[in-house]
Structure formats: structure tokens, C-alpha cells
Symmetry: C2
């Protein structure tokens, strides 16, 4: 892979915020020339596909400042320092939806925007959902509506671009694939 690698010549921290850090790096390209790379550092996150005993998907509607609009997404949240992704997943599910679940199943992990950011998302499926009486509460700057919809209803939300993000699109396609594979074996 040596013929692809970029060497870091210098690295300047531009910004250090609550969530992200931003760097500009001078790199030496494989052909010896130099260029600049803009890099966003992110703590990483988890997302959960919660499926109720009735086969519905639990989604959250929330305002997203980056797009200045409301989006419907699967429950998700940033990793806290030193927290295991699976623990984050259970915490976020309870905080955002009021549900606890049986053992979660890891589906996939992926970088969301490898061109400019190192955010890594770990995706889990949660089943055997039970409502919690005194659920852990949201962060004080989080406001969400909880929706429970069928897969068909969720796909209609995707069609209407109310669902409009990569992890949720992946999650719905995952449920479609499971159903299609299940149907084949029937």
C-alpha cells in the first residue's frame, strides 16, 4: 500500500469544540508533491435498530442544526469517553425511546464520511423491547419525538426524505434484506 500513503509534514489544530476537533494537515503525496488535508476528529457513535415485539421499528424525530431541519432517524448517540460502544447503545436506546431490550446484536460498523472525518458508527439491532417506568433522561440539549412504525411506513418516510441519513437508510435496507432472506427460506 506504500504507493498510496500520504506522509504528514505538519498538523495545525484549527478548532477544539464540545464534539469535534478540526485540523489542517500538510501532507506529502505518493508522488512527492505536497497538499493540504482538512480533517474533522469525532469521538465516534452508536446507532440502534429497535424492533418491537409487533415487528415495528422505533424511530426518533429531532432537529438537526447542520441541515436546519427535522429528521427522522434510528436512535443514536456519541460515545462518552471510556464508554464501551455496547453500553452507549443501551444507554442511548433508553434515553431516547424509554425502551430497554434483550441482548443486542452487532450488525456493522462504518466510517460515515471518510473523505473528511473519522466518525465511526457501531450499529446494533435491539429486540425484546420493554418500556421502562423511570427511563434515563435525555441530555439537557436534546429534544426528540418517538415514533413506532412498520417497515413499510419507514420506507415511505425514506421516500419522502423525512428519513434522510446514511445509518437509518442502512438500517431499513438491513430489515428489508432480513425479510427477503427469510421469505426465501419459507
Amino acid at each position: 500500500m506504500e504507493h498510496l500513503i500520504e506522509k504528514t509534514l505538519a498538523k495545525e489544530k484549527i478548532f477544539s469544540g464540545k464534539v469535534i476537533e478540526v485540523y489542517v494537515e500538510d501532507v506529502q503525496l505518493p508522488n512527492g508533491k505536497t497538499s493540504k488535508r482538512e480533517v474533522v476528529k469525532h469521538p465516534g457513535a452508536v446507532a440502534v435498530i429497535p424492533v418491537t415485539n409487533e415487528g415495528k421499528v422505533v424511530l426518533v424525530r429531532q432537529y438537526r442544526k447542520a441541515m436546519e431541519r427535522v429528521l427522522v432517524e434510528i436512535p443514536a448517540g456519541k460515545l462518552e469517553k471510556g464508554e464501551e460502544p455496547l453500553a452507549t447503545a443501551h444507554r442511548e436506546l433508553e434515553e431516547e425511546t424509554g425502551y430497554r431490550c434483550g441482548p443486542m446484536r452487532h450488525v456493522v460498523s462504518f466510517y460515515t464520511s471518510p473523505g473528511f472525518a473519522d466518525e465511526l458508527i457501531h450499529l446494533y439491532v435491539a429486540e425484546q423491547l420493554t418500556k421502562v417506568e423511570n427511563a434515563a433522561s435525555l441530555d439537557e440539549d436534546e429534544f426528540v419525538d418517538v415514533l413506532e412504525v412498520t417497515l413499510e411506513e419507514a420506507l415511505a418516510l425514506l421516500e419522502r426524505q423525512e428519513i434522510y441519513d446514511a445509518k437509518t437508510a442502512y438500517a431499513l435496507q438491513y430489515l428489508q434484506l432480513q425479510r427477503a432472506l427469510g421469505a426465501k427460506h419459507e
Copy 2:
């Protein structure tokens, strides 16, 4: 949705780079309290699922500075100012793989990281691939290897986390789903 919306009270531009802009915004939350949001603005991008006449997927291997590692991804690239996504998709396919294709089919569009960035990716399928003699060349700071693999080989790369990003994971699952649905109709 009024009960979810955050009002912008102030907006400070932190950084304006080649690719991204970074803002810190003061917002009024639905409950009247204030908070800060960190927002990365991105021009948007396209990604292409190129499938050869033999049913292989064309992938590119490249170095990603944000993760400081080599990743295997479907061909993709940023939107140029004023360029239609479909035109970008044809251009990037040719630049990165040396292939032209028949009419592309739009699969889905999604925000990659709605928690902190507005990057929107438009995903297309490209078939009827033909190698171009004098293909448009890569940007001068781009270096890629081209791979042609079966879906099974691509899924093995995902398993080994050589494929490790959302758009490519979505693309492989899309091909799995098409195959599963096709198999059902046989």
C-alpha cells in the same frame, strides 16, 4: 414540529477550507435555554456502484487522511460548484476507474453525519461499463488502485474492515438485497 426547532441566535465562522467550512452557532432550544452547535458545511458528494457485465463490483483503494489508513470504497467524489450530481457521478466513475457506463440509476440520497455535518451523498448504480482509452484523469492529489471483485469478495473485504464506510456498506447491502429479491422471483 415547532416544539423541536432550535433558533439561531448567533453564528461564528471558525474555518473556511478547500473542502469544508466550520461554524459554531448559539441556539435557543425548544425549552428556551441556550446551547452551542458545531456545524461542518460540505459541498455534497456522489457515489457510484459500478457493476461490470460479469457482475463484478468496481472498487477503489485509497489513503484516507482522517483515519490515517487505506480504505476500499465505491468510487465517489465531491460536487463541483454548479455541477449536477449525475454529471459528477459520470465524471468520478471515469476519473477513478476508467469506465464509462450506460444510463445511471439513482438509488438513494442521504446525509452521512447529520449530528455535525451537512454532507449529502447521492448514490447511483452504473451498468453497461466500457473501458475508455483516454479516460479523464484524477485530481492531482488523488491516488487510487482499482479493484474488480465479486459480491462475495466485497463482503469479505467488509468483514475484514478493509471496506469500512457507510456508502460502500450500503452499496453492498443493496446488491445483496437485489439478489435476494431476484432469487425470490425465480
